[in-house]
């Protein structure tokens, strides 16, 4: 774990330092919201692979990494485009091994959450009932049927997951990497605790006093975090509560552009590998588009007393 003073850095440096070929990477842990697209795009720019990708519902972040030829395995409950359904690059990889073969370990949202929770607790397995009866349980190395020694019930032993690195986006963090996120969190908490390294991106880097005034909101404590990068709009086109909403048109355009392999590669070149970094990507989107997505109906929370 890095010393606190080393944690604040540029995103390209953080990705280069923390994500390595062969790693299992947890990302998009918040389901449709708070997806760390800036970090995902950076690992595509740096061509870091092959990777194992871990998420519940990754939306198109997995589809893009797969298109770049950097994924060898996904461990996930759902891979596609939430606005339209199919992830075409995922399909091509599974059906035609293009651009490279892809192994898929199927989970449900609950079972993959339990797998990370077991990993977070330092246990080799979790116990669950779902998805018993599903074909996902057949020939899946992550599920084994067991009999409860207390009740005699038939249950599932779900193999623990301990990713090498988690990529997590939050609203705000301090220089020590104490990350505060609000809104639905999916399995972000479990992924941070189960992973050996954590790369945190945030909309705003704030003074530590802001964190200390509201410790309930600390989703990822700095003791788990190796690098923290300030990346405004770092989750676009996913929504971030209090900052911006879903850019649905982006997902629709992505679906249309990725139906065939050639145009999918053009899309990657246009939006990810072409732009030199997140600033170029945002400039390409344009300020009018971003303004239209920014939070327009302010609703601050009621303050709570946290004195003594």
């Amino acid at each position: 774990m890095a010393k606190p003073s080393d944690k604040v850095c540029d995103l390209p440096d953080a990705v280069a330092r923390l994500v390595r070929p062969g790693d299992a990477v947890a990302l998009s842990c918040g389901l449709e919201g708070m997806i760390p697209y800036a970090a995902a795009h950076e690992l595509i720019r740096q061509k870091i692979g092959p990777l194992t990708l871990i998420a519940p519902i990754s939306n198109i972040s997995f589809d893009q990494i797969i298109a770049a030829g950097l994924a060898q395995r996904v461990v996930a409950a759902w891979v596609g485009n939430v606005s339209t359904g199919i992830g075409y690059n995922f399909r091509r990889a599974v059906e035609q091994s293009r651009p490279r073969p892809l192994e898929v370990i199927d989970h449900s949202n609950f079972s993959i959450t339990l797998a990370l929770e077991a990993g977070a607790r330092g246990l080799p397995m979790a116990v669950g009932r779902s998805p018993l009866g599903s074909d996902m349980v057949r020939d899946n190395p992550h599920f084994k049927k067991i009999t409860c020694p207390h009740s005699g019930q038939e249950l599932l032993a779900i193999k623990a997951l301990n990713p090498e690195v988690a990529l997590i986006h939050v609203q705000r963090a301090d220089a020590q990497g104490n990350g505060q996120g609000w809104g639905a969190t999916g399995f972000t908490r479990q992924a941070a605790m189960a992973s050996k390294r954590v790369l945190l991106t945030c909309e705003e880097l704030v003074d530590s006093e802001v964190i200390r005034r509201d410790p309930d909101r600390t989703l990822v404590p700095g003791i788990l975090v190796d690098a923290v990068c300030e990346v405004p709009w770092g989750a676009h086109p996913a929504p971030v509560q209090g900052y911006y909403d879903l850019d649905n048109q982006f997902y629709l355009d992505y679906a249309a552009a990725t139906r065939d392999e050639g145009s999918a590669q053009q899309w990657l070149a246009e939006w990810i590998t072409g732009p030199g970094g997140r600033a170029d990507y945002l400039a390409k989107l344009g300020s009018d588009r971003l303004c239209g997505l920014a939070t327009q109906h302010s609703l601050p929370t009621a303050p709570v007393e946290y004195g003594w």
């Binding site: 389901l31 409950a77 779902s130 639905a184």
Partner: protein
Amino acid sequence: MSAYTPGEIMVSAAARQIQDREVVFVGMRLPLLAFMLAKETHAPNAVGLFENGVLRDQPAQGPIITMGDTPNQSRALKVCGLDEVMSLLSGGRVDLGFIGGAQVDQWGNVNTHQVDTPKGQVRLPGSGGGADIACLAGRLLIIMNHELRRLVPRVDYITSPGWGEGPGWRESQGLNRGGPAALITSLGVFTFVQGRATLASLHPGVGLEQVAAQTGWELTTAPQVETTPEPTTKELEIIRRFDPHRFWTA
């Protein structure tokens, strides 16, 4: 042209399955609209759970495409993680859950993983929370377009278990509750009798032959097949408020 779309009558039929004060595990698309509609009409005290970690008892503050959209989290009763909402489901606190899929069979098994076609196997996105809802919710509602390729005798892959192979199957798999209660399609509504899909109502203007032709299993019908009530003007107004561009109901 009809005054409503097949999507809109599916939403209206699905909303009627939600009773007041029920805790509902809401999916996206048509089920989400059905929940919104039920809330605004006969089930004002129903509470919705979204698997990303949102618990809310009011419709979203504005139109949404995904459950993570900001208007769906603003003014929620609780936001949390997958672990908490899934524990409510696993602990038996959820009365009703919705799912859709690419294929359903006569036992209400649902496939969202892979479909065998003459050109080879087509890979679909997977379970998401669908299998969890099918395993653990008090009762399951399945909602999908009525096409011969979707209503098949036997799904190519069981993602979300229904009644499996018939009575007793769920227990044999270790599933201690739940199972499909209804299948709502673009042509009619099936209920499950002894685990088998049984046609209970036809949407207005739909004939039995049309349903039989688009159903991959030998049709079983209720003693009296009803006509599904048309969505009312008020219902349509509410549905269109939440789906203003008919993104889901077109």
